[in-house]
């Protein structure tokens, strides 16, 4: 159904407000000054590299969020983005560090490898779902764990790892494979991959809204039965959606890999996939919404550092993230019901089915 602009913007605003209130209470209990805390969070944007870092991280979350959202579009809950992106990152780093190619081509090869690796890792749950009816929720939970073992093996010195001090990393990717960033001097360097992420988002929008495939995907998500009757091959859609989701998941780690780290470290952070779930939910699977969700999520993440700097427990940011997700979905639900009732009233009125006494409606 079509939601109004108010219907789109009101819920997140309410949710943020609610979370701020909740955190204020928590801060007061722990004896911290909420104003200091929120001041530090806002203030960080104007200092150091935080603003640029936020955008950089947002690009990462954005890609993870898009990957999750593709699954959501057809009611697939791909918890496995976590495992897929990590697996893809390692493979891409290994290949990127292992081949010698001219600039651009090198980069493209790495990107393609990452996409394929992500898709490959998503193929397992997809096949299990299509042919054996295994719920993708469970299979991807298991595969996330298994990915850790695979990565451990791949990065170990027995396989492709190189020990640097106490750390192990893949062989560094030579400069020809990097994606150059845009330097902002003191304020840091913006990943070039931010624009790639933007392109992927635009592609996602076009794919979903303007192509036959997108239509079929959404149709299968909304009603598998109706889609089947409309000639959409459900199995094929599950497979394609899952592979596409895994492919985009494969891009998740690339902004950092190609823009800053140039190698995959054993200590490289995990958890982008899980954050992607939250971001996709916040953005309601809409590419614009996911972008906002990603920026918000990244901003909260960065806040942990500056809150710590002013002596406020950084756990607050996790509470805030949880509270925002929960309250945003509740707020969306409330607004959705209000709008549905309003739309029904409008339909009723325009059809003149009941000219009398409508004011009392909306009992739902």
């Amino acid at each position: 159904m079509k939601t109004t602009l108010r219907g789109k913007l009101l819920p997140p605003a309410l949710a943020i407000l609610f979370s701020v209130l909740l955190c204020t209470v928590a801060l007061l209990i722990s004896g911290d000054n909420p104003l200091d805390a929120f001041g530090a969070m806002i203030g960080q944007l104007f200092r150091g590299t935080t603003a640029v870092d936020t955008v950089n991280s947002a690009a990462v979350y954005y890609l993870a969020g898009l990957a999750v959202a593709i699954g959501f579009q057809m009611n697939l809950f791909n918890i496995g983005v976590e495992g897929q992106y990590r697996f893809a990152a390692v493979i891409a780093a290994i290949v990127g560090g292992g081949v010698v190619l001219p600039p651009v081509i090198h980069t493209v090869v790495i990107i393609v490898v990452a996409v394929l690796a992500g898709a490959l890792y998503a193929l397992v749950p997809a096949l299990l779902k299509v042919y054996r009816g295994v719920s993708e929720v469970i299979s991807t939970i298991m595969l996330n764990a298994i990915a850790i073992g695979l990565i451990a093996y791949l990065v170990s010195t027995d396989a492709f790892g190189v020990q640097i001090g106490n750390n192990i990393a893949t062989k560094p990717i030579p400069e020809s494979g990097w994606v150059p960033g845009i330097p902002f001097g003191e304020s840091g360097t913006l990943f070039g991959f931010v624009f790639v992420a933007g392109l992927v988002g635009a592609g996602y929008w076009v794919l979903l809204n303007r192509t036959r495939f997108g239509f079929e995907l959404r149709a299968s998500g909304e009603s598998p039965t109706a889609a089947t009757a409309g000639g959409v091959d459900a199995r094929k859609m599950v497979l394609t959606a899952m592979l596409l989701s895994g492919g985009v998941a494969g891009l998740t780690a690339l902004p950092e890999l190609l823009g800053r780290d140039h190698e995959y470290l054993q200590t490289s952070p995990a958890g982008y996939g899980f954050a992607g779930i939250a971001v996709a939910l916040l953005g309601r699977n809409h590419p614009g919404g996911i972008a906002l969700g990603a920026v918000l999520w990244a901003f909260l993440d960065k806040s942990a550092v500056s809150l710590d700097n002013v002596g406020v427990p950084q756990e607050i940011t996790t509470i805030m993230q949880g509270a925002i997700v929960l309250s945003v979905v509740i707020a969306y639900e409330i607004v959705r019901r209000m709008e549905l009732a309003a739309e029904q009233r409008r339909v009723g009125r325009q059809l003149g089915r009941d000219t009398s006494d409508i004011a009392a409606g909306g009992s739902v």
Binding site: A26, I29, S30, F72, Q73, N75, F77, L128, R132, G133, V134, S135, V137, I138, S139, I141, M142, L143, A145, I146, I148, G149, L150, A152, Y153, S156, G221, E222, S223, P224, I277, A278, A280, L281, R284, N285, P313, E315, I316, T317, T318, I319, M320, Q321, G322, A323, V325, L326, V329, I330, E333, I334, R337, V364
Partner: protein, 425 residues
């Protein structure tokens, strides 16, 4: 709503399937048969590979211990899903439980700890119920949010409460633990039997001894909760009503069942059980006290065990036992034990082949022969499994078993559907 769950059930066309031609085996007997079969296979594998770990009392004990939090989480999942609410927030509720357990136990002893854990888990459940039942939020979305919140709140509370006590924001001080009890008379006798290394007898003795040694009240309660859940859910009117909310809430409502109330109750109990699962990480002897992130995905595994167990108490006991057993085996027995387990899998597949041949299912039998051959080839060709991958043996086992068996699974019909009063057709 986009994620996870389809829209409400629509009255579909009436389809008349043939009456079931199932042989009437009572559920408990079925369970016993499975257990006997499993023990027989393991005992044989233990004998043939000479790996005593497969059925030793130590393995059983560790399996029990590792299975416990998973079992409780799975029971939590069972209660919620039987009432039609998918609870992926078990992890968050467990985390709340760990904090509550440490807090309660520190100030009031183990039983208070257990109680506070249950209450904290139930608070998580309450939140989930408010979101899903009252506001009709997609169940998975709400669950994900609760996992985040549970983690955040526990961290924050630990920072607030435990740091002054332990000097560490991520850990509680040492808290009282449950005492453990052993059936000494029997276990000594069993210990003798076990050490005699007689085929089957020693294996059974080992397993029994593991189950009877150093058992904490919480362990007993958790195990008892399996039959209790069964009795309540399948043998009482309360349970019937609760299950009806997961099968067809509109019908239940039309018969005067207060669906909202039952869903709330079920999700609260679910949260309480998850909280108890958290407590089992904190309050058992050798437990960890409160430690950040100590649940480590066990809530998700619990959910998997429940699905694995076909939304039934006996089944989820089997699922948690399988996971706990495999995990315990790989942790304490390591590579050789996992290899022996691989051998057991080959034996199991041989049994499957025989059964399928008997049933004249040629294709299934062929597939099983192939799988058995493959596994045996692996068993034969390597003397050590890759060290990096053995820790994930339980996950592999779960995947494989699901791939083989998931098509027989049957979830409550309205599980995950958003129900709104007066909206049924």
């Amino acid at each position: 709503m986009a994620a996870g769950i389809a829209d409400n059930p629509v009255a579909g066309p009436v389809h008349v399937a043939p009456p079931p031609k199932r042989r009437r085996i009572p559920g408990w007997l079925n369970g016993v048969l499975w257990a006997v079969g499993a023990i027989a296979v393991l005992a044989t594998a233990s004998y043939l590979t000479g790996n005593v770990d497969l059925t030793s009392s130590t393995t059983t004990q560790t399996a029990l211990r590792l299975a416990l939090p998973i079992l409780l989480a799975a029971l939590g999942g069972l209660w919620a899903e039987r009432a039609g609410v998918v609870n992926i927030g078990l992890e968050g509720m467990m985390i709340l439980g760990t904090w509550g357990a440490a807090f309660g136990s520190y100030y009031g002893g183990v039983w208070v700890g257990l109680l506070v854990a249950i209450v904290f888990g139930a608070i998580g459940g309450l939140l989930h119920a408010i979101a899903t039942v009252t506001f009709g939020v997609n169940h998975i979305v709400s669950g994900v949010a609760i996992n985040l919140l549970g983690l955040g709140v526990a961290k924050y509370l630990a920072h607030l409460v435990f740091q002054p006590l332990s000097g560490n924001p991520r850990q509680s001080p040492v808290v009282p633990k449950f005492d453990t009890y052993s059936a000494t008379g029997i276990t000594n006798w069993l210990a003798d039997l076990e050490s005699e290394q007689r085929v089957i007898v020693s294996d059974v003795a080992g397993i029994l001894r593991g189950l009877l040694t150093q058992v904490a009240p919480l362990t007993m309660i958790a195990i008892l909760l399996v039959p209790i859940s069964y009795l309540i859910l399948w043998r009482t009117r309360f349970g019937l009503r609760l299950r009806s909310c997961g099968e067809n809430p509109t019908a239940a409502e039309s018969l005067g069942v207060n669906v909202y109330a039952f869903k709330y109750t079920a999700v609260l109990i679910s949260g309480g059980l998850a909280g108890m699962g958290g407590a089992s990480l904190v309050l058992l002897k050798d437990g960890a006290d409160y430690l950040e992130n100590q649940t480590n995905g066990r809530g998700y595994i619990g959910l998997a065990a429940m699905i694995f167990g076909n939304w039934r108490p006996g089944g989820l006991l089997g699922g948690s036992a399988l996971f706990g057993y495999t995990d315990g085996l790989q942790l304490s027995g390591r590579g050789p034990a996992v290899l022996a387990l691989l051998y057991a899998a080959v034996l199991l597949l041989v049994v499957v082949v025989v059964v399928q041949l008997f049933r004249r299912k040629w294709f299934a039998a062929g597939a099983a022969v192939l799988a058995a051959g493959l596994l045996y080839a692996i068993y034969f060709s390597v003397d050590e499994l890759p060290r990096d991958l053995t820790p994930y043996a339980p996950h592999f086992v779960t995947l494989i078993v699901l791939a083989v068996a998931s098509q027989r699974l049957r979830m409550p019909q309205a599980d995950g559907f958003i129900y709104r009063r007066g909206q049924g057709s």
